[in-house]
C-alpha cells in the first residue's frame, strides 16, 4: 500500500533558509515533516511518491498575509475552501483571512468558524479580526477574547478608523495581546468618491482622483500614535513614494512598524488605467510611475518587509460595468508567485533569494506565526516552481470562484508545478 505521507523530491534544487541560497538536493518527506535533505536520497518502494524535480526549485510554501476569502456572506465570490484551493495552486500554504465578511469577523464565534472551516482545507488559514465592532470605527472589539479565540491580528482593512483618539486607545490596549494591527491607510475625506490615483491620467480620463495624501496623512498619524504607544503596527499595501518614505523614517527612528506591498502595485502604474479596464480599479489605487519605482526601492533597501496579494475576488457583474460602479479589487493568489518573480527577478534583477523571504519569513515574522522552511524536522510546506517556464494568464485557468485578475492576458514567468502542504501533495500531478 502506498503511503500518502511519504514523498521523495529528486533531482532538483531547494532554497536553503540558513544559507539563504538555492542549492541542489533531494528532499524526503515523511509523516508530514521534512525527514531528510541530501544528495541522491533513494528510498525505493511503493510507499513513496517520487517527484522528479529536474528543472524545478523547491521553495518554502508561500505565506500571503492579505487575502479576502469572502466567507461568510459573499460565498458567490469565494469561500474558505475555494480560496484555499486557489492559494495552493499559487504555492501559498498559509494565509491571513481579512475580516470584512458579512457579518464581519468581530466575534469569537466567527473567528472559531473560520478556524474550523480553514482546518478542513489543506492551507493554513489565520483569521484576522476586526479592530472595531462591525468595522464601524466606533468601538473597539473584544481584542482579548478574539486573540484567545485565535485571531492572528486585527484590521478594519478597507474601513479605516478615522477617529484618531479611538485608534490611540486601540493601540494602547493591543500591547496586552501582542498581535499586530494591520492598517489599510486611507483618509476617507481625501479619497471621497475617488476611483483611481490622482494625477495626470485621472485628469485626462475624467476619473475622480484619490491623492497619495489620502494614504499618507493616515500613515503619518498612525506612526505618531505607534511611536507614542509602542504598539505593533503593520501598514498593508503601501502604494505611494511618500508612504514608503514615512515608514522608512519611522523604522530608522525605532518604531515597531512593518509594511507590505502588493504585486499589482509593483507591476503596474496609473497609465494602465487608460484602458478603463475595471480590473485595475483597486484600493489603494495603482499610482504613478515614480511611486512604482519608490515601492521597488523600498523592497530593495529593506523598508518593505513582505509582499501580500490582497486577493479580492469579485463577480463579473461587479466588474463588467461602468468604471464608477465597479467594485475595487483584483484577485491575486493564483498569480502571486509568478507576478512577483516576473516583476522582481526577471525584469528588475532581484535575486530569488531576496524575493523568497518577502513571501515567507517576512509575513511569518509580522504575524508571529510558524515559518515555512525546508529544513529537517520542519513541517513540510513546499512549493515546487519552474522559474524558466512562462504562461499566459487566462480566465479559464483560474480555479478561484472569481476571475477579476489585473494580470489577465499577460505573460508571466514562474510556474508552480507542485504544492506540498503538511507533507501531502495538494496541488500538481500526483
Amino acid at each position: 500500500m502506498k503511503m500518502e505521507n511519504a514523498i521523495l523530491i529528486k533531482n532538483g534544487f531547494f532554497f536553503n533558509s540558513r544559507q539563504n541560497k538555492i542549492v541542489p538536493g533531494d528532499i524526503y518527506i515523511e509523516n508530514g515533516k521534512v525527514a531528510e535533505i541530501g544528495k541522491d536520497i533513494s528510498y525505493a518502494g511503493e510507499d513513496v511518491s517520487v517527484i522528479d524535480a529536474s528543472g524545478l526549485t523547491a521553495i518554502p510554501g508561500l505565506i500571503d498575509m492579505h487575502v479576502h476569502l469572502r466567507e461568510p456572506g459573499f460565498e458567490d465570490e469565494e469561500t474558505i475552501a475555494s480560496g484555499a484551493r486557489a492559494a495552493l495552486k499559487g504555492g501559498v500554504t498559509a494565509l491571513a483571512a481579512m475580516p470584512n465578511t458579512n457579518p464581519p469577523a468581530d466575534s469569537e464565534q466567527l473567528i472559531k468558524y473560520i478556524l474550523t472551516a480553514g482546518s478542513a482545507t489543506d492551507c493554513r488559514i489565520y483569521p484576522i479580526a476586526c479592530l472595531t465592532k462591525g468595522q464601524e470605527g466606533k468601538e473597539m472589539t473584544e481584542m482579548g477574547i478574539l486573540s484567545e479565540a485565535g485571531a492572528a491580528g486585527f484590521s478594519d482593512d478597507g474601513m479605516p478608523v478615522m477617529d484618531g483618539k479611538l485608534m490611540y486607545e486601540i493601540m494602547k490596549y493591543s500591547l496586552q495581546f501582542g498581535k499586530p494591527l494591520i492598517l489599510h491607510e486611507e483618509d476617507l475625506y481625501f479619497s471621497g468618491p475617488g476611483l483611481m490615483h490622482e494625477g495626470e491620467f485621472s485628469t485626462r480620463l475624467g476619473l475622480e482622483g484619490i491623492p497619495s495624501l489620502a494614504d499618507e496623512v493616515m500613515i503619518a498619524r498612525d506612526i505618531m500614535l505607534a511611536e507614542k504607544t509602542g504598539a505593533r503596527i503593520h501598514i498593508t499595501h503601501l502604494s505611494s513614494s511618500g508612504g514608503v518614505e514615512l515608514v522608512r523614517q519611522a523604522k530608522s527612528s525605532g518604531a515597531n512598524i512593518s509594511c507590505d506591498v502588493t504585486p499589482h502595485h509593483l507591476f503596474f502604474n496609473d497609465s494602465i488605467l487608460e484602458t478603463f479596464n475595471t480590473n485595475f480599479k483597486v484600493k489603494p489605487p495603482i499610482r504613478s510611475r515614480a511611486d512604482q519605482a519608490a515601492l521597488m526601492e523600498g523592497l530593495k533597501d529593506g523598508t518593505i518587509d513582505a509582499i501580500a496579494s490582497d486577493h479580492a475576488p469579485h463577480l463579473d457583474t461587479e466588474k463588467n460595468t461602468t468604471f464608477k460602479l465597479a467594485s475595487f479589487g483584483t484577485t491575486g493568489l493564483e498569480t502571486f508567485f509568478a507576478a512577483c518573480y516576473t516583476r522582481l527577478v526577471s525584469e528588475n534583477g532581484m535575486g530569488i533569494e531576496k524575493l523568497i523571504p518577502l513571501l515567507t519569513e517576512g509575513p511569518a515574522k509580522i504575524l508571529g506565526i510558524e515559518k515555512n522552511r525546508i529544513e529537517k524536522g520542519h513541517r513540510a510546506c513546499i512549493a515546487l516552481v519552474d522559474t524558466d517556464a512562462e504562461f499566459v494568464v487566462k480566465r479559464e485557468d483560474f480555479i478561484s470562484k472569481s476571475k477579476n485578475s489585473a494580470f489577465l492576458g499577460l505573460k508571466l514567468r514562474g510556474v508552480v508545478r507542485y504544492t506540498i502542504s503538511g507533507g501531502k501533495i495538494v496541488y500538481g500531478k500526483k
Binding site: 490622482e198 485628469t203 476619473l207 491623492p211 461602468t322 468604471f323 464608477k324 465597479a326
Partner: protein, 308 residues
C-alpha cells in the same frame, strides 16, 4: 474616410480628419439653410441614440442631424440612477443591437462607459459625452464655430473659464484647440483645477485675460457633478470668474464669447448679457454654436456611416 471605427475622444481624429469634418460641416450647413432641409445620404440606416444622462440640446441636435440625412433615429433615455448594476446597461445595449442598428450615439454619466460599450459592439459609436471624460462633438462644433467666425485658427487666444475639473467639454476643447494651433489658457481657482496643472497655462481670475483673449469660453459650473461643495459661494464666483457688462466692455473689439450651454444665468454669464445675445451683430456666439452643432454632427454621421 476616418481611420477609426468610432469617435470616442477628440484624440481619435488627426488634424487632417478634423479639417475633413469641418469642410463637410460647411456643406451640411448649406443644406440646413435650404427650404427642403433633407438629403437622402443615409437613407435606410438606423441610428440609435442612448442617453444614460439627461440632455436636451445634444440629443435633439443628433436627432435633427440624423433626420436631415434621412437616417432613422430612435432615442433611448434612462436615468442612470435607476440602473444600479452595469449589467443592466450591457443588457440594454445587447437588446438594441439585436435590432440591427447601424450606429450608436451614446451619452453616459460615468467616465469611460462609452469606451466600455464601444469595446463590445461591432457598429460605430459616437460619444455624446461620458462623465468628466470627453465630449468630442462639442469640441468639434466649437472649433467649427471659431473657424467660421475668424476664418482662421492658428494663434487665436482662447480662455476656458470656470469649472475645469468637472468638465468633459473643457478636456475635449483644450486638447482639440491646442491641436489646431490655438493658445489655451485655463482660468480657474485651485479647487476647480486638477491637482497637478503644471502642464497648463493657468490664471485664477478672468480679469487677468479679459483684455487679451480672442475667445472667452465660459464653462458651465457643473453643480451636478461636484462631488463635494468646495466653491464657497456664487458671490465669490462672480467676483473672479463671471462675465458681466463691465468685463464684456473691456474685451478686444473683435473678440467673442462662447458657452456650451445650458448657461447658469447669473453665474457664468450675467442675465443682461444673455439678453444682449438676442440682438443682432453681437459677438456672443452661443446660438451659432448650437446651429453649428447640427451641421458638425451631420458631418460626423456622414463620415462615420455614409462611407461604410
Amino acid at each position: 474616410m476616418l481611420s477609426k471605427k468610432s469617435i470616442l475622444s477628440v484624440d481619435d481624429l488627426d488634424t487632417g480628419e478634423i479639417m475633413q469634418v469641418l469642410e463637410s460641416a460647411d456643406s451640411f450647413m448649406d443644406i440646413s439653410r435650404r427650404e427642403i432641409k433633407k438629403v437622402p445620404t443615409l437613407r435606410g440606416k438606423t441610428v440609435a441614440s442612448l442617453f444614460f444622462e439627461p440632455s436636451t440640446r445634444t440629443r435633439i441636435s443628433f436627432e435633427i442631424a440624423a433626420k436631415r440625412l434621412s437616417a432613422d433615429i430612435v432615442n433611448f433615455s434612462a436615468q442612470a440612477s435607476s440602473l444600479l448594476k452595469g449589467e443592466t446597461i450591457m443588457d440594454t445595449l445587447r437588446t438594441i443591437l439585436s435590432m440591427q442598428v447601424d450606429l450608436l450615439v451614446i451619452r453616459h454619466r460615468d467616465s469611460g462607459t462609452v469606451k466600455l460599450m464601444d469595446s463590445v459592439v461591432n457598429v460605430p459609436v459616437i460619444n455624446a459625452g461620458d462623465g468628466k471624460h470627453q465630449h468630442p462633438t462639442q469640441a468639434l462644433l466649437d472649433i467649427y464655430t471659431i473657424k467660421n467666425h475668424f476664418n482662421r485658427l492658428e494663434g487665436l487666444k482662447v480662455a476656458l473659464v470656470g469649472d475645469y475639473i468637472n468638465s468633459r467639454v473643457a478636456r475635449s476643447c483644450q486638447s482639440l484647440f491646442e491641436k489646431m494651433g490655438l493658445e489655451v489658457t485655463i482660468v480657474a481657482p485651485a479647487m476647480l483645477l486638477p491637482e497637478d496643472w503644471s502642464g497648463f497655462k493657468v490664471e485664477h481670475s478672468i480679469d487677468r485675460i479679459i483684455e487679451d483673449t480672442d475667445i472667452l469660453y465660459m464653462l458651465r459650473m457643473q453643480f451636478e457633478r461636484q462631488d463635494r461643495k468646495l466653491y464657497p459661494s456664487v458671490r465669490e464666483y462672480n467676483r473672479y470668474l463671471s462675465l458681466d457688462m463691465k468685463r464684456l466692455s473691456r474685451m478686444k473689439k473683435d473678440s467673442v464669447v462662447m458657452h456650451p450651454g445650458p448657461v447658469n444665468r447669473g453665474i457664468e454669464i450675467y442675465d443682461e448679457i444673455m439678453e444682449l445675445a438676442k440682438e443682432k451683430g453681437n459677438n456672443i456666439l452661443i446660438d451659432e454654436q448650437v446651429t453649428a452643432g447640427v451641421a458638425v454632427r451631420m458631418a460626423l454621421l456622414y463620415l462615420v456611416l455614409g462611407q461604410s
